[in-house]
Every structure is written in C-alpha cells, then in structure tokens.
Symmetry: C2
Subunit: 403 residues, 2 copies
C-alpha cells in the first residue's frame, strides 16, 4: 500500500448509503476503483484529484488498482448535461454536437484506436515494401481528375480547389525517380451523397509504383487489408477469406449477376451494391477482385485496351470488393502523352488543365500502376460498423462542417 495523489475523470459514481461511494477514475494509463467514505456530491465525468492509499483491486471488476480515498479536490467540474450515459445510444445526429463525450464511450474509443493503429500498420506495410511516403498538396489548381465534385477555394482572389486525388502528383514523383511512393492523407469530395459510405473529407491510402505490375499492386493491396484485419483482431472474416482472393472480370461478373435474383448489369454499366453483394454470395467469399472494367468508367489517366470479345475498351484495372463495398480501386496508368490526350477527349476534359501532366509524360515515365484504398471503408468493414462517419471524430459530409 502507498499514499498517492491521482487526477482523472470520474465515472460511474455509485452511492452505497450515507458513508460510502464507489466511483471509477479513468487516468491516461489505467482505471482505478475509488472508495470514498462519504456520499459523494460530485457530478459524474468531472476531473477529480484524489489522494489516498492504493492497493491492488480485489473487487469483481477488473480495475487496475483500488484507492481508499482520504481527500479529494474537483479540478474541473462537468458543468454540462453531456455525459456518456446520454451518448450511449445508437449513433445519431443527437450525439454529434458532443463528439468529445461520444468518444469517451468504450466502444467508440476502441474503434478510433483501431483506426489510428491501422493507419500506423498501413504505413509500416508500405515502408517495408520499399515505398516512400511523399507529400502532395491539398490545394490544387485545375489539374484534377474531373470537372465536378471539387470544393472551390478563394486563393488570394483566384479559384483553387481541394484535392480529389494525389495520384497525378504520384506520377510526377515517379517521373522524379521516386519510383514507389505512397501517401496516407485526407482527400475531399463535394458530391451531394447522403449514403453511409461517403464523407466530404476522408482518409485514403494512395500508392503508385513503376516497375510493379497490376498483379504486384493487387498483392500489395491484399497485404494491407490482411495487416489491418490482423491488427483489429481478424476482421470477423471466415477462415481463408483473406487468402486466394478470387478474381473475376467485369464480363464474368455480369454473367454471375445474370443468374442471381436481382436486376442484371447491362453491358457497360456500373456495378451497383446489390450486384456486388450477389457476386459475394455466389462465390461464397467476403472479398473478391473485379478487373477489366469498362474504360469509360475509369479516370482519364487509366490505361485501357480494346477487348475483341465485346468490341469495347476495357481498363487494365483492379477493384477489391468487401461484399457490396469497394475498398480498393487501381490500375495501370497511361504513360504516352498522345494516348492521354485521347483519354482526355473521351472524357470531355480540357487538355489545357492538364498541361503539366502532359509535360510529365512527355519527359518519359516508366510503366506504372497506382491504387487508392479508402481507410474508413476498410475499417468499417473490418470492425463491422455500418456508417463510416462513426470512424471520424469530427465528420464532414453534406452541409456538416462544424464543430
């Protein structure tokens, strides 16, 4: 036993008659069971400094230690009605104004720590595979991959935008002889989308490598997904679902869907969530790759080829689905400036906005492949969370940017 003073936040105050109160003191590294010899009149979730004898906890709950409190002082009183008791409800708009209280909930704390740990693991996996983390700008000009969905910014009186993707800069890094680069960074999309899988500001892993094939980058993606799932304790996946992830082409996917109990994928149209879900069910797998998607759905910098079987252009791409949700999207890149001009024209983009990118290609770039992996989407699946906003302490989505 030793006499000590400890400061922390006081939870679960249970008065046991007039002369006894139990409470939990949560400190940075441990939780204490505090025993007060009075009926305590302190508001729950205040910051309190207690002094007393500590001893190993003997109670039924797994506290680190027990403190027989001799004296105490309220360091900062909780003068709001906000408390984890009120926040302990299904995630809703109601709790959003009190994010700092919401994140005290053990399950919310656990999921945020899981995400932040996953970010560290992702950086480690890429670094171990000799990728270098670079820094692309968040503020960009017109060199972005689409005319819409951008947030516009007043940049000293001129129009600038928030970045939609680092991948164009990654090509420049490769051209600068940084041949394997990645970045874990926030990106921004201004599309009006109220789905549970969209944020205006989200965290993404993007990676680009020269001299690594489409297959290499698919393996890299799998390594990242595997590391993150291990890090959060398995990701709730059936045994084997992280190994030998099946690969289906877009045309094979269309055939699978045509035999399923849902609307078909019309030739050249996009894969909807229920299509992907039907494929996962048919394959009896959680994860599966789709490759060779219609060229017209892929960003202008994607390399494509003519497919004689369908008479259409398909991309040299890859997309990883976790059941109905796409987690990874990537593909080989156009390296010829002439071909890039054609792709820009196909997508009705103004080549004047992409002068720098055309210069980069004209200077000679090696064959290269890139990918993006949505970190909130992956974590939501690995942790079994339905709405990715729950993985962001201060989420930004349509109309929401405060606090």
């Amino acid at each position: 036993m030793s006499q000590t003073s400890i400061t922390g936040r006081l939870y679960s105050i249970r008065a046991m008659g007039k002369h006894l109160t139990f409470a939990t003191l949560r400190c940075p590294d441990r939780e204490y069971l505090c025993v007060f010899s009075e009926r305590l009149k302190v508001r729950a979730e205040s910051i309190v400094r207690v002094t007393g004898e500590t001893r190993p906890s003997t109670g039924s709950r797994a506290f680190d230690d027990e403190i027989a409190v001799e004296s105490y002082e309220v360091v900062a009183e909780n003068r709001t009605i906000a408390s984890t008791r009120l926040a302990g409800q299904p995630y809703s708009k109601a709790v959003l104004p009190d994010q700092h209280v919401y994140m005290r909930l053990p399950e919310v704390r656990a999921r945020l720590l899981a995400k932040w740990s996953a970010v560290r693991r992702i950086r480690d996996v890429l670094t171990e595979q000799r990728f270098v983390e670079v820094q692309s700008p968040r503020i960009v000009g017109r060199m972005t991959d689409g005319p819409t969905m951008k947030f516009k910014l007043d940049y000293f009186g001129r129009d600038a935008y928030l970045s939609l993707s680092n991948l164009l800069f990654h090509t420049a890094f490769v051209a600068g002889d940084f041949t394997s680069v990645f970045e874990v960074s926030p990106l921004f999309r201004a599309d009006v989308n109220h789905s549970s899988q969209h944020l205006s500001e989200f965290l993404i892993l993007e990676a680009t490598a020269a001299y690594r094939s489409r297959e290499d980058m698919m393996r890299l993606s799998e390594d990242v997904v595997r590391a993150v799932c291990e890090d959060c304790g398995g990701g709730g996946l059936p045994a084997g679902h992280l190994d030998d992830i099946p690969v289906v082409t877009y045309e094979e996917l269309r055939k699978i869907v045509s035999r399923a109990d849902c609307a078909p994928v019309a030739p050249g149209t996009r894969i909807k969530r229920y299509h992907a879900e039907a494929v996962a069910t048919h394959l009896d797998r959680t994860l599966f790759w789709v490759v060779d998607m219609p060229a017209k759905h892929k960003a202008f910098f994607s390399s494509t080829r003519h497919d004689p079987a369908t008479g259409t252009d398909v991309a040299n791409d890859f997309r990883l689905y976790w059941r109905e949700i796409d987690i990874v999207d990537g593909g080989e890149r156009v390296t010829s400036p002439e071909r890039l001009r054609e792709r820009l024209a196909e997508q009705d983009l103004d080549p004047a906005h992409f002068g720098y990118y055309l210069d980069v290609l004209a200077g000679g770039v090696p064959p290269l492949t890139g990918l993006g992996l949505g970190i909130e989407r992956l974590l939501a699946k690995a942790l079994g969370i339905g709405n990715i906003r729950q993985l962001v302490p201060f989420p930004r989505y349509v109309d929401h940017f405060e606090p």
Copy 2:
C-alpha cells in the same frame, strides 16, 4: 556474370568515339554503368530497357554494377528539353514548372528523403512517448484562432475554412479521454507573406497532453529536434548545442537585446528575427527557449498569468528558436470557460464562433499543454537550406498553387 534485362532512366550519356558510349542507368534500388558498343542516339533522361551481361563495376565511380549492353529499347523517350542539367541551377522560379525534373537532382532527392524520413522519426518519437496520432478535420467552421489569414471555401453553398490549427480539436480529444495526442498534418495560412520561411500549405507537428507540464512538453520538443537532427546527420550543430538548451524569459531577452548592436525590443512588442539572432550570438548557442511572452501575442486559448514585476499579463508558454527562426511554439491552455471568455474578449473574437470549445471546457478538462513544430522550418535549419519552399515538391505560397 549473368544476362539480364533492366529498365531505368538513362543519365550522363558520354560518347567515346564511334563505337563506345558510357551512360548511367538509375533504377529503383541501384545505379548501373552501361557500356554501349555504339555511339548512342538516345535523349538523356529517357526510360530505357537494356539487356546484357552484368558484372561488378570496375570503374572509378562507385556504381553498383556495370552492364555490357547487348541490346536496348527506349521505353519512354524524354521528348522535353527539361533535364537535370538545366535544373541544376540555384533554386528559382525558372525550375518550378518542372518539379519532377528538379527532384531528380541528387541534392534535391537527398533533402526530400531527409524530410520524409524525419516525418517518420517524429511519429516514432511521439508514439514511443505514448502519444496517439489522431485526425482533426482540414475543413472547419468559424471555430479557428483568428479572424484573418483563413482560406475560405464554398461548402455546399456555405462558407467554410481551411484549418489554421488542430489544437482546438486536440483539446476536444483530451476532453474525450485521449489524454496525449498528436498529429503530423498540413495546415493552411492565407497571409500575404513573401518571406523565405512562409508557405500557404505547410506540414506541422501539433501535440497536446493533459497531465504534462510546460517543462515536460519542452523536453518532448527537444527530443523531437534531437531525433530529427540525428536522422539527418547532426544538423551541422556545434557539439553540445542540442543539450541543456538555455531558457530565457521575454524580459531577460529584452535586456540581452538592449546590450546588442540592434534596435531594442520595446516593452510588450514582438521579437523580430534580428533580435533572436542577437540573443543566439550573446548566448553563443544555436538553440534557445524564450518563455513568459506577452499574453496579448498568444492565441486566445493560451493560459496566462499576471506578472507583478512588469504589471502586465504573460503567457505560460515556450518558444524554441534556432538562431533567428522560431521552430516550436507552445504553452499551457486555458481550461476554465470563464477565463476563455475573457481571453476571447481581450482578442476581440466573437464567443459565438467558439460555442463548441466553451462547451468542451464546461464539461471539465484537465490541465493541459500543447505545442506546434513547423516541420519545414526545422528541416531547413537542420539541412542548412535557406528557403523552406525547397523542402516542398509542389509548394503553395502567395499566388502559387499550380501544378
């Protein structure tokens, strides 16, 4: 000896008569000396695939290997005039349009790798000291620490801003029981400043901790600076200048400057670069701390106290100078909502913009200290680079946001 095919970028093509050319092939992991048995007609800095016998290099330069080229193929020709030969000039606007070429220069490559390595080291130091890396939003509302210098954003038809600081969110994380948090992230300032030490978008380490004193956070800052300097090979510092870094108060600094050959620091006014330089010279030290600065110069969330000696309010703060440049700025924080309202009033800020922050404090926060460390500024000093723009591949500053 073994026959192999290798792809890379071809530099330093030296024709030695009609039937012999030497060139350097730079690959992801190594550099080869290529020996062609012809006068090579390939443009320098093209991507070339060579096939031939490799053998350990016997030449005077330290190549990894030598290749006796039997055949070769130009994979992607350099069709621009941009080359490292042209870029190999003092950093200037002239080379900015070709950042991808500029970063091929060995000294530029080395400094970018040093910066990216430092970012990893910084994250490791904080993680070892039990800080958790959190994620604050880049898009914010009016809850920012000043009315000016913000980039304004069109957020679905409403005004939002790019974040000036994560520190207000860090207080919310501490209130959420994440008691030691940090973030390495880009921040944004819209001030018109043409100095060599300013960027509109810069990388910063910000850290906030409950239950750690001002002295603890000063030691943490020193650990980070020491780790970064070690990582880049000493930072060119005289022996001992990273140990026992002297601490002077603002009033002591004023006295030191009053005896130096420069304009004095008038009571309560800001420390200018030449003042700091004079102090470094007087102390004969590269690094020194300044503490107890005038309260009115510090952000509204800074904790302050009355100083009877001068009859003014001073901050419980700390600032690390590397000669004339401030690298770290931090201090203890206001935790009482009443005191925060006073500080907001002192700085003419509208309390309505800080309603969430006042709520966070009203919920009870423990004593806490925060800091910010400018990563480009530190690296510029550690690497002996005059202009911090040289540490950013695609720098953003007044009027510059492309490519």
